[in-house]
């Protein structure tokens, strides 16, 4: 289509004319350029059609109510708007409108989130310290050679007898009257119950003593 356009002058063809059409219709072209364009449009039917298209769009905007949107009541400033703005300006308000203030309110939980993060971090650090301390205390209370000393094995019969004899001797020294009975083998400690208790006690002592 462009090829069918005319070159009305050596330097001013359709390629130069078309981009100038909107500026021409807007009254923004210098008289010199407007003159060239007018001359071209007179001779070039396709460019003339393009200019008419542009005019049609311009008419559309004119019908849209150029400059009238602000006059519609729902978009008009409320009563006392100017006085309020002037008052706020002189009070030092630099343009933080209510929307920003609302955003600041919405930022509240984010601040709370930071506090929560701090508390959680602190708790985690405290837990770590307690864990280290517990491990250290545990290591301290463990036997140095790493072997467990407590045992559930009953003491041997021989060791029990040896201990009993030692006890008998000690009691004989403390209560001479009883030594005779002991020597006769009638001492009540020889009962299975007493022996068992002694054995258990001995076993615990063994475990603690080693």
């Amino acid at each position: 289509m462009t090829n069918t356009h005319h070159d009305t002058t050596d330097d001013f063809g359709c390629a130069e004319a078309l981009p100038l059409v909107p500026s021409y219709l807007d009254g923004e072209l210098s008289e010199a350029r407007a003159g060239l364009l007018r001359k071209h449009l007179l001779d070039c039917s396709p460019c003339r059609t393009s200019a008419q298209d542009a005019k049609a769009l311009s008419r559309w905007f004119a019908h849209s109510g150029r400059g009238e949107l602000g006059a519609r009541p729902e978009f008009a400033p409320p009563a006392g708007f100017a006085a309020r703005v002037a008052r706020r300006a002189f009070a030092g308000d630099v343009g933080v409108h209510p929307v920003l203030e609302r955003e600041a309110v919405q930022a509240g939980p984010r601040e709370g989130g930071k506090l929560l993060q701090f508390v959680l971090g602190l708790t985690a650090a405290a837990a770590a310290v307690m864990l280290v301390a517990a491990v250290a205390l545990r290591d301290q209370s463990l036997p140095a050679d790493g072997r467990l000393r407590a045992t559930n094995q009953p003491p041997s019969k021989e060791s029990v007898l040896l201990r009993l004899e030692a006890l008998d001797r000690a009691e004989a020294k403390e209560a001479p009257g009883a030594v005779q009975g002991a020597a006769q083998g009638t001492a009540p400690r020889a009962s299975p119950a007493a022996g068992g208790q002694a054995g258990e006690s001995q076993g615990r002592n063994d475990g603690q003593g080693k």
Binding site: P22, W60, S64, G67, A71, F75, A82, R88, V94, H97
Partner: protein
């Protein structure tokens, strides 16, 4: 002083009000707000439909303007300067709320060609290579509010940079130089961006509402 005398009366009044505000006159700032509040509400309305949000953004815009008033250079008009703050505030608002409008980096048309004073992007090339149906002027019986709703819906579908140039030009009736000042770009870039924005608007309008295409 000579520069001030060359200004339009409205611009001279703005300069006076700014100076009085800077010297501590609260009423002067209130007058500045009253002077531009309607236009600011109209502009911001293209970035959100929620009236509460519109009010918040416009209020924020004026408060920011007050805080930076000492840095206001009289090279551009007060309104142009205010527009720049309002657009940035509206876009920041969307970012903060995770409501990112269609971004330029996601727009394949923008990544195709360099955008510059002389460059026209894919939209311009498409316009040259084939003619899509023209947009019909809306039926006179159509309610203006209905047309506005359609226009707004189409604008919402456009990448933010296209939407902004269309809003500044088609609704704020801003001159190219003022648009360049607001957006911090060259006039050539304004031209090319506007060209592509219109092409995209038309394409999207006809896609959503083919009934508005010329038969």
């Amino acid at each position: 002083m000579g520069a001030i005398l060359k200004m339009q009366p409205a611009a001279r009044e703005d300069v006076s009000l700014v100076a009085e505000t800077l010297s501590g006159n609260q009423l002067s700032f209130q007058l500045l707000v009253e002077r531009y509040q309607d236009r600011m509400f109209g502009l911001v309305r293209h970035y959100t439909r929620n009236p509460v949000e519109i009010e918040d953004i416009v209020q924020d815009t004026f408060l920011k303007a007050f805080a930076r008033l000492a840095s206001f250079q009289q090279q551009s008009s007060f309104y142009t300067w205010l527009c720049r703050i309002a657009i940035n505030t509206a876009l920041d608002f969307h970012k903060r709320h995770g409501r990112n409008p269609v971004q330029s980096v996601e727009d394949p048309e923008l990544t195709q060609g360099a955008e510059g004073a002389s460059g026209m992007g894919g939209g311009a090339r498409a316009e040259r290579t084939g003619r899509s149906p023209a947009v019909q002027a809306p039926d006179a019986r159509m309610e203006q509010r209905e047309i506005q709703a359609i226009t707004h819906r189409v604008l919402e579908e456009l990448p933010e940079i296209f939407r902004t140039v269309l809003v500044l030009r088609e609704f704020e009736d801003m001159a190219y130089q003022d648009m360049a000042d607001v957006l911090g770009i060259s006039i050539g870039t304004v031209e090319s961006r506007l060209f592509r924005a219109r092409a995209r608007f038309k394409e999207k309008l006809l896609q959503l509402h083919p009934e508005f295409g010329e038969n």
